[in-house]
Symmetry: C2
Subunit: 343 residues, 2 copies
Amino acid sequence: MQRKRVTSKDVAEKVGVSRTTVSLVLNDVRGIQISSETRQKVVEAAKELGYVPDATAQALASRRTKAIGLVLTRSQHHIATDAFLPKIISGLLTTAKKQNVRILVDWVETEHRESAYFELAHTKRIDGMILSTPRLDDRALKALERVDVPTVLMGNVADLNLPFVDVDNVKAAEKATSYLVELGHRNIACISSAPLEYTATPERVGGYRNALVRAGIPVNEGLIRYADFDPESGYRCMKSLLQGGERFTAVFVASDNVAIGAKFALREANLHIPDDVSLVGFDDIPWAQYSDPPLTTIKLPAESLAQSACTLLLDLIHDDIGNLHQRIILDTELIVRKSCRPV
Amino acid sequence: MQRKRVTSKDVAEKVGVSRTTVSLVLNDVRGIQISSETRQKVVEAAKELGYVPDATAQALASRRTKAIGLVLTRSQHHIATDAFLPKIISGLLTTAKKQNVRILVDWVETEHRESAYFELAHTKRIDGMILSTPRLDDRALKALERVDVPTVLMGNVADLNLPFVDVDNVKAAEKATSYLVELGHRNIACISSAPLEYTATPERVGGYRNALVRAGIPVNEGLIRYADFDPESGYRCMKSLLQGGERFTAVFVASDNVAIGAKFALREANLHIPDDVSLVGFDDIPWAQYSDPPLTTIKLPAESLAQSACTLLLDLIHDDIGNLHQRIILDTELIVRKSCRPV
DNA sequence: GCGCGTTACTAACGCGTTTTAGCAAAAGGA
DNA sequence: TCCTTTTGCTAAAACGCGTTAGTAACGCGC
């Protein structure tokens, strides 16, 4: 079955034209004159022979790989339990497909980040890259500013001059917390989605603080815990909160995935939602609406986020220069379900 | 910052040798004689100049892209809600990284599958591919047998002569169902993970049937429902079961993700787990152990599955001929938690 | 019948590697 | 001394495409 590869040369010979003509026709190059008769013959011959251009040769010649990288920087364990990744990939896939671009998932290990970004850029396997959940302390990121590969971040890093796509985490967290305040809660705890190095964390916890301050409620640091993405960390945080001695009637958990564990800890302590404790989540993962009771949460438009990131990146790649530091902020929405009640 | 690309020519000139020598040294080609003095000089010069080989040129010349494809065939919605994908990706990433191979996620739309597989193969962007959750009616799969790109399936298709990696779904489902039988249940319902076209479905439902038959319990077709991967379909199936009039005291749900929805339907009907209904799941997604009550389920080694698939594929790529029809079956384990009780 | 513009192509180079074939010098053996 | 190996390297040919510069043929106006 190892029938020989069909190259553009074969097509050219079959029609009796040059390879150049074949290339011009098939790539639909504008501003070039080829009789529609020849065009048709080329197209037909190509189809007949089953000609599929060799992607690597194309890439070498055109200096475009038609592939973009999704770069993950977290640990293997965190990737495996990331309730979010499927949506990102789905979003990326849909807009990439439309533009006839492929997606390369790459994983940069925590240890040698600096050189990894550098290599990623110089290897030229991809035309651009999307970095998900950047960290504040990622010094390697700074290097990216000077690297010539278009990059967009999913999630903002304040003092970095790169284009990014994000939601307004501060506002979203405020919304969630204010909702609890409006229900009359005054002792509201907070469990973050991740450690402080991840940019979304200070933003969301900040929003929580803002909401309290605005309502004239003093912020009690003893009611704040920092989780680490997965349910297990949520479980630990909630237990710590419960054992901490500080009283609370509501909790804002800045990640639904974390909330899964947090909820379990409440249950274990024989506390009921929403009767004993009100709970607001963040993300609106599929589980949220089938949770018992259905979880009130902030809906984070993950797929749109990915799609925007992808579109922005592709613009960047084609413009070469254009919107060098564009920022896209998407809206979030509070989905009220049944995990909260008035005090 | 557009400093010129460093090519192997630059390295060669700096050391005063030919490009060939540079290539031989840097690729550590065996059976070739180069003085260790020259070797060292080349390595140093490469590092000094920051030489990173151009992946596309490498691919064109060596006819190896050092990339494998993960091909998804389901709908966008199903990809977005796939609680499984992160583990697959994590598993793939770890073994791929070790072998210095990249992962390309590709999505073949349902409509034009046949040509899509063909193109994927001839494009030569990838050295091989992994197909996840194949479907029985995928006629395009047959074409894959004759295509010259190494392929491994995650999930078996009985009459297909391709290497695959899978768990013994029949046995696993038997294990789960038998567990319920042993607890004294006789009216056991079953909700599948997916429609019948997906190969795991008939296998798992088959295992459920086997267990009943072996215990001398007649199979009641009215107690079987077919879900569609996501929680929502699980919710629908359970509701349908509840409204179906047939009595049951236990349910085997062949997917934890589906169980999320099924559980919600039970709750809505004011039925308690395990007091009113015992529940066994399948997959052991992170949620399972933090569910209330913690879900007894079959642990499907997703990451190992992905790793095996990746290893097998890479073997196939390198051997060219070797284990052409290898099959790897991984073990599953029943994780007993608290969602079941004796009648 | 000459100049000029347009139409419809092609020759040839470039992309940055890997790979094949081979060669000069040094070493070893008789 | 002459012949054969071995050692250490190189020149040149792929690899399969994109692209630039250029040209042949033709029509048209004068």
